[in-house]
């Protein structure tokens, strides 16, 4: 099921809104899902607003020159690495990060990505604004802070062992932002409609490819018919035309890449 483009939007652009067969409906549905997958892979994240829980770092980092500070819980003490006068940054997987609902960060030096019983207990919760903060760069009129680069800053360095930081946060674009809705009662600071446009274009291209190449009464043909005559039935096809019209087998066309360019997550490669 698509979550960026509604099938009705593809029906409209494909000229199917007045009449559509069940087969066409199924093809469109499938192509919307495939197009969304292609766009998400190109962006390197899921752009739909969701609540997410993730563990960091994803791999062990090499310890460089750093100072250290003891951090004490009710039962254990940990040596937390820190660099003098410098904050460390944690790159979150999904963007843009929202301040509401509130982010929650837990640090458990023996957290093992939450697999150890009792790991990431309530006492491991850190305080936003004191222990860490997102690199918020704008505020909408509802007072929700938005961090477009997904960078999480910390007082001192983040832990170096994989799976010791648990971050629960909300990130992504709302349906209104993805549709570029600017109605007077809709507050849209971010316009992510190029993502929606790219998914729609990619879905259309896939539908057209299937419709041209799908099995017809004469079997599979290698391209669209360029002529057809009824008496002593005959037809001719042009396989090169299909490629020219609907693109090659690339996952995302150059046109879509241009639309998506401002939204690509440069800091994370999934």
């Amino acid at each position: 099921m698509g979550s960026i483009v509604d099938p009705s939007e593809a029906w409209l652009e494909l000229g199917l809104s007045g009449s559509i067969t069940e087969e066409e409906r199924a093809v469109v549905e499938q192509c919307v899902v495939k197009a969304e997958g292609a766009v998400k892979r190109h962006l390197r994240y899921d752009p739909v607003l969701r609540r997410r829980t993730e563990y960091y770092p994803s791999h062990d980092s090499v310890l460089g020159q750093a100072g250290s500070v003891w951090e004490v819980t009710s039962t254990q003490a940990y040596l937390r690495q820190e660099a003098s006068g410098r904050t460390s940054e944690l790159q979150l997987r999904h963007i843009p990060v929202r301040s509401t609902p509130a982010m929650e960060v837990r640090i458990d030096y023996d957290g093992r990505s939450g697999t150890r019983a009792g790991s990431f207990a309530a006492e491991t919760i850190k305080t936003e604004g004191e222990d860490y903060w997102a690199n918020y760069d704008m505020v909408d009129s509802d007072g929700v802070k938005i961090c477009q680069d997904g960078m999480l800053r910390s007082m001192g360095l983040w832990p170096l062992t994989a799976g010791t930081v648990r971050v629960e946060y909300s990130a992504g674009y709302t349906n209104a932002e993805l549709h570029g809705e600017h109605a007077e009662d809709v507050d849209v600071v971010l316009d992510a409609s190029p993502i929606w446009a790219a998914v729609l274009e990619e879905a259309k291209r896939r539908v057209e490819q299937i419709m041209v190449r799908k099995k017809s009464k004469v079997g599979w043909v290698a391209g669209p018919k360029t002529s057809e005559s009824l008496g002593d039935y005959s037809y001719s096809i042009d396989s090169s035309l299909a490629k020219a019209l609907y693109g090659s087998s690339v996952e995302v066309t150059d046109e879509s890449k241009m639309l998506l360019q401002p939204f690509v997550h440069m800091g994370w490669d999934v």
Binding site: D6, S8, L12, S17, G18, A176, H179, E181, V186
Partner: protein, 112 residues
């Protein structure tokens, strides 16, 4: 399937006929229901109107051989754009379940 074109904050009336596999008109029974929903995949419905249960603004579905869907201007007060217009049928005699009748393409234009 038809394209349903409407304007934001303007009332909209459409007649809906439910047909069986043979193309014959189905007239909803006393305990049957007809429902229209407007929304987008993966999102909560923006508007849902069921026969016998008009909305506060007055949108309603009147059952009959031709079902009349009347959407009030106050209920069509959402951002212009393209939405799916679902038509569903509650068949009381057949397992008391909702069945999908059709999906239309609703385009809501801004009001000039």
């Amino acid at each position: 399937m038809t394209l349903v074109l409407g304007q934001r904050e303007r009332g909209l009336t459409r007649n809906v006929q439910v047909l069986d596999a043979a193309g014959d008109v189905i007239t909803p029974g006393v305990n049957d229901l007809v429902r229209v929903r407007i929304g987008r995949q993966g999102q909560p419905d923006i508007l849902s109107v069921t026969s016998g249960s008009p909305t506060a603004a007055g949108s309603k579905v009147t059952k009959g051989a031709t079902n009349v869907v009347r959407l009030d201007a106050d209920d069509l007060n959402f951002p212009p754009g393209t939405y799916t217009f679902f038509v569903e049928y509650f068949d009381n005699a057949d397992a008391r379940e909702w069945k999908e009748v059709d999906r239309e393409c609703l385009v809501l234009e801004p009001t000039s």
